[in-house]
């Protein structure tokens, strides 16, 4: 086995892992603050992908502008759904109702997108996915470079927001203890809304980044969401650093399983790791108290 092949599969794994991180970050954020799983996250990803596709193809906007638009569509949708569905259910005092509502939102969105966009796969081409660079026997597209750059910038921005801004600190306070944070003058409902908006915006942006890689149909997001859930668990429920590490790890596992074993075994290896983590290190790759994860 040549070093070139190993290097190529490492590049492939990092690009794929970066995409997984983008999808999983939103899930992690919601889990960290609300201790809730958002089953509609995949559909926010899909809608972001379609928003980017139609902006590019109907208005001739650039791909980079379409990423921004997908982020905006995701944020807007998150705000609207929280305002009309999740928040009223949360105010009834049950944690189960919003969870079930995410399943309802997911089914509703999938069928709405099926009705609007049809079932035939869309080919989302960007000018960058055709530009192939060949360096020392390896190859990568400009699209791959953009994926890594945007993922890196997003992770850095999120990290800086959480650690160094007042809102970020307030959000972490709500994650640690919602009632005490409220006594300190922080409105938890505003912070929960902010969490959902950021998470949905990240999902929308992930959709725009994934669209040239994914088979773009109304069910596109569901094909990556199961892996994203696995990444959140492997990383340590709600832990941002753990999610980044786990996302890249899963991307690399996929590449090297394809090369050295068989692509049909990818899920067995990834979910085998997930079970091993649950059995031997249930706190995830990066262990912290959940309250300090976000």
């Amino acid at each position: 086995m040549s070093a070139t092949i190993v290097a190529q599969q490492a590049i492939n794994g990092i690009v794929l892992g970066s995409l997984y991180v983008l999808v999983a970050l939103g899930l992690t954020l919601i889990y960290g603050v609300l201790v809730q799983i958002n089953f509609a996250h995949a559909d926010f990803v899909t809608l972001g992908a379609f928003a980017a596709y139609f902006l590019m193809h109907l208005t001739g906007a650039s791909y980079l502008a379409s990423i921004g638009a997908a982020l905006g569509v995701g944020a807007l949708l998150g705000w609207a759904i929280n305002l009309t569905i999740f928040a009223p259910l949360r105010h009834k005092g049950s944690e189960l109702l919003p969870l079930i509502a995410t399943i309802g939102v997911s089914t509703m969105m999938q069928n709405a997108m099926l009705a609007w966009f049809g079932p035939v796969p869309y080919a989302f081409e960007t000018p960058y996915s055709q530009q192939v660079y060949r360096v020392a026997g390896t190859f990568f597209t400009l699209q791959s470079v953009i994926i890594i750059a945007v993922s890196g910038a997003t992770i850095a921005a999120l990290y800086a927001f959480m650690k160094f801004t007042f809102l970020g600190k307030a959000l972490r306070a709500v994650a640690q203890d919602r009632e005490t944070a409220a006594l300190m003058g922080i409105n938890p409902n505003h912070l929960i809304m902010l969490t959902i908006v950021i998470s949905s915006a990240l999902a929308g942006m992930a959709g725009a980044m994934l669209a040239p890689v994914l088979v773009l149909t109304p069910f596109a997001g569901t094909s990556v969401i199961v892996k994203a859930f696995a990444i959140v668990i492997i990383g340590g429920f709600g832990n941002v650093e753990g999610t980044i590490l786990a996302g890249l790890l899963v991307g690399l596992i996929e590449s090297f399983t394809t090369q050295f074993l068989d692509p049909g075994l990818i899920d067995i290896v990834v979910f085998g790791l997930l079970l091993a983590m649950l059995a031997f290190r249930p706190t995830g790759l990066v262990s912290e108290r959940r309250e300090e994860n976000v």
Partner: protein
């Protein structure tokens, strides 16, 4: 006198109403109920959407005058290209709609799952999308397939690759389903028997999105002449583009030729772009066919949907037209439709001819057309059959 006239008018009106009711009842009896099991959701939903178009066009044409006094009605159920939802949809259709004949499914796994259910209900089913050999070998008396099975397609394409393309090495790429595994196996057996060598055998799940790693692996196995690929349209697009990016296939300035069968619809090349250059594949509907039936179908389809028909549209159209043909030959209920279907010898559809063997498999090979993608992404008919 006026009262008597009123009474007679009332009796007359009632008579007319009764006669209309009887006539309605007769008309209701003279209906052939078609149940349609197609994927309307999930990754195979593009099949269902295109099947519906072909069906609607056929029914519109047939129901203008009817056939032997019969009109045709249809009810769709979403079988989702998957065994469990397909079984549930089949039971729902049989229990509630009680069709005289069923058409569908597209995916082999789903078709295999519903076959025992429709056989138990003694309702015939016409299939035009599933290639697994198990569907008609051994099959059952109620399942008919109008397209070539995986053996007919696989033996032919492997032989053509060896003889016409001088291919001696191949990489198999296929989804891990009955149809994917079966098609790949037939190619492998035939190709190796002829003297060819399989240098990599790669199966993958339907949830794989990024094929760059698979393309990398193929780029590292050495000289590859052909890459037979068995997957649905969405993954097919990504595979072709990844192979081009890795410099493996002609579309990426490599030497290998991708081979495909009927899984990909018309228009695939336009979506895949330059990466599809040199792709050789079997299509089961040739829109340039000069037969009147084909020309009329293409014109009718364009007029109704403002689009070019795909082989999926054409298959669905043929399924309905075959039902009309058996009704024309005297069939009127599930059992007689089954028996008349089995006796079909020379039905001329827009995809080709139909004649069933003892296992209800169409034995005609004129449904196989080889096309190669030109640099302008149009088709070059290879005329190998």
């Amino acid at each position: 006198m006026r009262r008597q006239v009123g009474v007679w008018l009332l009796i007359g009106t009632m008579g007319l109403m009764a006669s209309a009711a009887v006539s309605d009842a007769v008309a209701q009896e003279k209906t052939i109920k078609i149940g349609a099991l197609f994927p309307l959701s999930g990754p195979g939903a593009y099949f269902g959407a295109q099947d519906k178009q072909g069906i609607e066009l056929a029914l519109e044409e047939l129901n203008k005058v009817g056939v032997n006094g019969y009109k045709f009605t249809i009810q769709y159920e979403d079988s989702a290209c998957s065994p469990l939802p397909a079984s549930q949809a089949a039971k729902r259709l049989l229990d509630q709609y009680k069709p005289d004949v069923i058409i569908g499914e597209e995916c082999s796994d789903a078709t295999l799952a519903i076959m025992p259910i429709i056989a138990q209900a003694k309702t015939p089913m016409i299939n035009a999308g599933s290639s697994s050999i198990k569907i008609t070998d051994p099959g059952n008396p109620y399942t008919f397939r109008i397209m070539p099975d995986e053996v007919m397609q696989g033996v032919d394409i492997a032989t053509q690759a060896y003889n016409k393309l001088n291919a001696r090495t191949a990489v198999l790429l296929y989804e891990n389903t009955n149809a994917g595994i079966g098609n790949a196996k037939v190619f492998k057996d035939t190709f190796e028997k002829l003297g060819g060598k399989i240098v990599a055998d790669i199966g993958f799940g339907r949830d794989v999105n990024d094929f760059t790693s698979i393309a990398t692996r193929i780029a590292g196995v050495g000289k590859v002449d052909v890459i037979p690929t068995y997957t649905l349209e969405g993954q097919g697009l990504k595979i072709t583009q990844a192979l081009a990016q890795a410099g493996v296939v002609k579309g990426g300035d490599g030497a290998a030729i991708q081979l495909g069968t009927i899984w990909l619809p018309f228009g695939f090349e336009q979506k895949a772009g330059k990466a599809a250059l040199g792709y050789v594949r079997i299509v089961q509907f040739d829109p340039t066919d000069q037969r009147d039936a084909v020309k009329n179908f293409v014109a009718g389809f364009k007029a109704k949907f403002n689009a070019e028909p795909t082989h999926i549209n054409a298959h669905a159209y043929d399924q309905i037209m075959l039902i009309a043909d058996v009704v024309k030959r005297g069939a009127k209920d599930a059992q007689s439709i089954r028996d008349t279907l089995a006796a079909t010898k020379d039905f001329k559809g827009v995809t080709g001819s139909v004649e069933f063997d003892k296992n209800n498999q169409n034995i005609k090979m004129d449904t196989i057309h080889y096309m190669e993608t030109r640099p302008d992404l149009s088709w070059n008919a290879l005329k190998w059959n």
